[in-house]
Symmetry: C2
Subunit: 235 residues, 2 copies
Amino acid sequence: MVKNVTLREAWSGEADCRNCSLRHTVLFAGLTEADFEKIHDPIDQFSLKPGACLYRAGDRGEYLFTVRTGALKLVQYLPDGSQRIVRLARATDVLGLEAILEAPYQHEAVVLQPTEVCRFPARVVKALGAENPRLHTELMSRWQRALSEADAWLTELSTGSARQRVARLLLRLVRDRESCECDLFGREDMGAMLGITTETTSRTIAEFKRQGLLVDLSANRFLLDIPNLHRVAED
Amino acid sequence: MVKNVTLREAWSGEADCRNCSLRHTVLFAGLTEADFEKIHDPIDQFSLKPGACLYRAGDRGEYLFTVRTGALKLVQYLPDGSQRIVRLARATDVLGLEAILEAPYQHEAVVLQPTEVCRFPARVVKALGAENPRLHTELMSRWQRALSEADAWLTELSTGSARQRVARLLLRLVRDRESCECDLFGREDMGAMLGITTETTSRTIAEFKRQGLLVDLSANRFLLDIPNLHRVAED
DNA sequence: CGAGGCGTTGAATGGCCTCAACGATGGTGG
DNA sequence: CCACCATCGTTGAGGCCATTCAACGCCTCG
């Protein structure tokens, strides 16, 4: 909970917002400077440590968030208390779209890796989206992207053997990346993404390491053998 | 592929569109008569038999659809050729939202039960949505609803034992219903919704019947013992 | 230095899958 | 009209894979 940047600075490209993913990914790219001046709310920027909770399911959604760096998990709890991770949010992803509709947050958003986010009021986006066609389109694209992700988690990460699921998750973590390196999450979290137990996850990862599909780089950081992982993923 | 109704009739409440779910569920409720007159494209209405395919994944999406009655499955195929059903569309649901973004359809939409749909051009919705705030909000709500459904399929229908999954699917099929009666789908389709095999699905249903949780009404139509199914669903 | 969290591994169980067979149903063509 | 076939739901037997319960080593942190 650190920095506090005014929208004026955001627009002029000063401060940290010059590199803000919001600008690169054009969520606000269609706004004029006049639009920005209508807004008096500050945009806050946060640095979060693993384990921190950005918001909880059922909380009144007053804010949207953009992930600058790091990773968060979106968690839903089952009646029996066990958890299921339904999505990840990483750099450039937007969190809390439901707040635009004045709905409570649908998930618990928990930080997995050191993370920076920008926070801005939902009602600002709601108001601007209603009159700015470009933002309107961008918002729909964001929802569509989340929906595609959700479908992919079902078909790729919740289908097939444990070996296949783990391999597909690993491949997914390095997509749109130049490098084949990858920070893994805790085994329990990976299990909750894949619908398998912690032990099975651990056994599968360990087996991949023995087979050379994964090479240890440092603590929980690995080099991936992408071609062979693809073979495993499709069986 | 039967009826063909002009938008003029749609607006005036004539013909079949008087009961059109679009009007009840206010996707178009915010439009003025002037808005309607801007549109020259006809709205077509279709009657579809089980097995019919409304659109395929990758098709250029020129149309959106609203389901009037019946049910369709949204299917995605895995690299190995097996299928996974990621969502159902039933009365009042809108299909093909991705077409508004000029993206190809993401799923194959296949009819499960005798179904009626209305079809309207995506570019009309795109144009009206950009200038009509109420439609704009309604569209976002539709995406959010689809997203919630997708998350629920992951947490409820792809988690836990086969008994739990089948019970949760049955309960889900009678939600927002006055009656406890329910038409089931083929065992293979149910398996593809739950991530289990046809045989396991059949065995589970048969066991539920023996335990009185399901009572045969007619061919594949059942009466549900909701309280006890809830018990099974949560274990 | 002890405690707790996490990853790993072992052993045993059980639930689901695979392969197979069979009856019922419904549509088709002789 | 009926034999035929295809489809679908059901059931059985056997095997495998993931779960469950348990133990152990390593690390960080108080």
